[in-house]
């Protein structure tokens, strides 16, 4: 079978221990929570760290609290827990739905919120074995200098593939990042919007610096009343990463839209927050005409490339279809919410 590379196993019990370790060895460490993405990537030699740092024993990172300022989620909360939690389902059904659409039941039981948020970008030329990649010639994301998707390209276009991130962005969620101050060795924490968490570079598509750790996610209380939806294009009813994902959330008052957010992802390294949405929706009901206009706007702003193993023209063509469906879902016609355990 595919082997794991040689590494040292580190298992901190507290956040402080973790940060201490990272302060010394961040660049040669790989943080692992559920391992559902890290383990295959290790086997493919996409990561060759000296230390594999398992954070699953840091119990303070595992929480789900419904508070006045919103829903607080620890990075170790599993995707099953999010999909099944009554509070999440009551207030943020689109988030539960997105979690329920990740992979399959076993992987959702292991996979975590933090892992899904920090999921490595994916590409048909990258998520392959060492043998395959060396036979092709390594790419600029790992071990090489060229891009096989865009041969003249200088920037990695591997696809952002998290199911949760688009919904979190649509809901205006924030992420907390902790690290040690290199001078004082004191812990410092900062919050930023999930939309600012990602950057458009497939090699490393988020703002985390060596030594940074995601310690919490907060979905703001203001998001409770939003009408939201999440739609995922995947060839199969389970397992597949998104070939296209669309999250939509709108603030409604008396049947008219006050503002909305539309996020399209799995096409490029960073989720795309579609521009000009407010102008299209403000003061209007979430009807088919609005959905059509939103779909067209999204279509024009997206340029899928052949980075994941599915027809890129088709993925582009599906953008307006899935936008319309996300809007319809937000309007109150949700698709099936898959249970985290037991299949349907």
């Amino acid at each position: 079978m595919l082997t794991l590379p040689r590494f040292e196993w580190v298992q901190p019990r507290t956040l402080e221990e973790l940060l201490e370790h990272l302060a010394e060895h961040a660049r040669e460490s790989l943080i692992v929570a559920g391992g559902t993405d890290a383990v295959p990537n290790l086997k493919h030699r996409l990561h060759e760290p000296r230390f594999v740092v398992h954070i699953g024993s840091i119990e303070t990172l595992r929480f789900l609290r419904d508070e006045a300022d919103g829903l607080h989620l620890g990075p170790l909360v599993t995707l099953s827990a999010i999909a099944l939690d009554e509070r999440v389902r009551r207030d943020f059904l689109a988030l539960a739905r997105a979690a329920s659409l990740v992979a399959g039941p076993q992987l959702r039981n292991m996979g975590t919120l933090g892992g899904n948020l920090c999921l490595d970008t994916r590409c048909t030329y990258y998520n392959q074995t060492y043998f395959w990649r060396q036979a092709l010639g390594f790419c600029l994301k790992k071990d090489g200098t060229v891009c096989h998707v865009v041969p003249a390209g200088k920037r990695c276009v591997a696809a952002h593939s998290s199911d949760l991130a688009p919904v979190l962005i649509a809901l205006g969620a924030e992420v907390e990042i902790a690290s040690l101050d290199p001078a004082t060795r004191a812990m410092r924490r900062r919050w930023l919007g999930v939309d600012d968490f990602f950057v458009g570079d497939g090699v490393h598509n988020n703002v985390l610096e060596p030594g940074d750790v995601v310690t919490a996610v907060r979905v703001p209380a203001a998001a409770r009343g939003l009408k939201a939806g999440y739609q995922k294009l995947r060839p199969r009813g389970a397992i597949d990463f998104p070939m296209l994902s669309v999250a939509f959330a709108a603030r409604m008052k008396d049947g008219a839209c006050e503002g909305a957010r539309l996020v399209v992802s799995a096409l490029a390294a960073k989720p795309r927050v579609v521009a000009g949405v407010d102008a299209l929706v403000r003061g209007k009901p979430l009807d088919d005409e609005v959905a059509e206009a939103l779909g067209l706007a999204a279509y024009k702003q997206c340029r899928p490339v052949a980075n994941v193993p599915y027809d890129s023209d088709y993925r582009h063509e599906m953008v307006p279809v899935f936008v319309r469906r996300a809007v319809r879902e937000a309007r109150g016609a949700p698709g099936p919410v898959l249970a985290a355990r037991g299949g349907t």
Binding site: T3, G104, T124, Q128, W132, L136, G343
Partner: protein, 830 residues
Amino acid sequence: MSEDREPKQPGFPAGRMMPGERRLEPPRWPGGRSQPPHGAFSVIGKRNRKVEGLAKVTGRALYTDDITLPRMLHAKLLRSSHAHARIRSVDASAALALPGVHAVITGKDLPACYGIIPWTEDEQALCEQKARYVGDPIAAVAADSELVAEEALRAIRVEYEPLPAVMDIETALAHPEWKVNEKAREGNVSKHVHLEFGDVDGALEQSDEVVEAEYWYEGSTHAAIEPHCALADFDATGFLTVYSATQVAHYLHRDLAKVLGLPTQRIRVVQPVIGGAFGGKSEPFSLEFCAAKLSMVTGRPVKILYTREEVFYAHRGRHPMRLRYRAGIRRDGTLTGVDAKIQIDGGAYSSYGLVTTYYSGQLLTAPYRMEAYRFDSTRYFTNKPCCGPKRGHGSVQPRFAFECQLDRLAERIGMDPIGVRRRNSIGADTQTVNGLRITSNGFLQCLDAVERAAGWKQKFRRLPYGRGVGVAGSMYISGTNYCIYPNEMPQSAVQLKLDRSGRATVFCGASDIGQGSDSVLAYIVCEELGLDLRDVRVVAADTDLAPVDLGSYSSRETFMAGNACLDAARRLRGWIAETLAALWGCAPAEVTLAGGVACSSRDPQRECMSVKDAFQLAEARHGTLGSVGWYQSPKLGGDYRGGTIGASPAYSFTAHVAEVGCDLETGFVKVATIWIAHDCGRALNPVAVEGQMEGSAYMGFAEALMEAHLFKPAAPGHGPGLHHGPSLLDYRIPTALDTPELRSIIVESVDPEGPYGAKEAGEGPLHPSIPAIANAIYDALGIRCERLPFDPPSILRLLRESDARAQWERARGQVGAAAGAGVAGRSAPC
């Protein structure tokens, strides 16, 4: 098997092309072999468990990779990075110098060529001169662990001289000078077959309607969950034991001897429990030879377990095929002539390709009678992993094309597609246009069953736009009538040992790959000897312990090993009955063995004892109880070159109706239900037969909608030929959530030559899946899917390219009009 070139093995007289001019004849039993030993069945036909079922579900079953031997080493294979390259040199010195590395072997260590078909031995365990696809093995390293072996692979330096790569049939034709496989006699042609039966052109001319269309089947692979694994142990006495996840222990045994230069009697091949095969383990593979050679070099046991990626390179999956059909029909629904031109993309080596090429034409001639038939099939070599037999070997692609043709012909003459199939059903006890002998045939019952169960008459051409139903039929072989290498010995054999403890042991070379052949043997022994299922042990697929059976391919085990077992058990039963008849003074025919009890039918209350006591009495009268049984098929097939290929002692028949719904915005096709009716002769265990029917329909459905064995094209800086995504994440097979409702209906035609009348059930039920779905999509949308798979982008493209809705309207009108005019058969919608 009839072929023009002689095999290279010594010992076969020159000029002998057919095995067995004079064949062994099986014993004849009063009442025949299709009937129960006495009156009624007590085990056969019951929903019994599989004998290995509990071991599997409780995790106790030992698969090859579960076996660990003391001092065992692990080996890995170095594989070619190029699709086509001359190997200038291999330098393994740096790898050998690494701590923990015990041996490295290269092509020159295993120079002998092998191949499953004796006429086309064109593979080496490790490439010596040339690599022919990305992933072709070049060297093997034995080390303390897989990780060390893998690290050593990176230290091996191979100097390649890249050659132009042939990635498809067009290039194979356009560049015969880019020779992929030096064993090809002409350009890149692996095999060419042209056969004609009757006057095809005349028949087509006299047709009222002729339909011509071209179809494309994209390749697919087996995706068995257990990867290939082999463990070899060459001991101090010079005896080699190979444990391997193989479905053909006997053929592997022979090829190990040939390649390693060892006498066959010093080799033992053991097949542990197998985690799926589907044809993907039905010939020897590089890993078995390499593990054995490395064990011989190091004097230690050596294991090789393929990664999932390597399984994709080992492949032997279903061939990509381009199929062009012309078929004619008369207005009364009579099928006239069928003309097929088939191009087959074989990959780098021959494998079973000779048979595939014949099967692509030979197996189309039932369940429908055709007046004249011609096929011209050519298999080409390309620089891709080698294709081979996958469940429904060679005939799934032609069946897809032809059943779509039938749908079109039916529409042309305004006849219901089930009606057309009925009208042309070839029937029982007859012969096909190409000389195949048909015995039992339950095809009409299959059609009736799916028509009724699916509610066909209420649905066909009557569902709203986007929903539809489609039908297809097929037939398949229950084993072939020849061995792969010519010989006159039985194709299957059983030794049966009866113990005075009341226990029986069946020894048989048959290979249980999950389909249930071990269970079939046990059921037969229990039925004949009145034993409980727990009191029979099956020792199978071990060349030291069991007599030869040719292996699990061509759906042969139930029919052939089953018959061998039936004869062995019946012989023993005869001795026991004779003993008890003498004791009780009744006739042997009046002795019954069932449910652990032996009794006379005359006075079962007083003339009765346990079967264990009966065994002991028989042992005292006849000596130690043991018997043998064997199966050799009668001589079959047409009297022409290749006429034996496709000839089988019995054929199974299947009909499917598929119901689909299509998402017009995304192009997603959802197959809601497949009704599967299958004539398996007699269901020895209905639940096992249903499992095979469901599994087959699932696999066909998967190929219809999803599976595609694809390769990356060339791009700046690299050549073509990398597998598109050699993993089960990127090579997508449907999950439980994608799978349709599968409704199995067993039809029993009771074959006169099958054990208790049984025929095959493992491969036949796959065939109609793809065309039934394609025809249902036409009913739903008005588009003809001619290229596989029917994935969402393809469906959308077809919807856009044609005036689908108008075509859909026309098709509806046509059936209604024809039914009104009284032209359609009795199944036309009312």
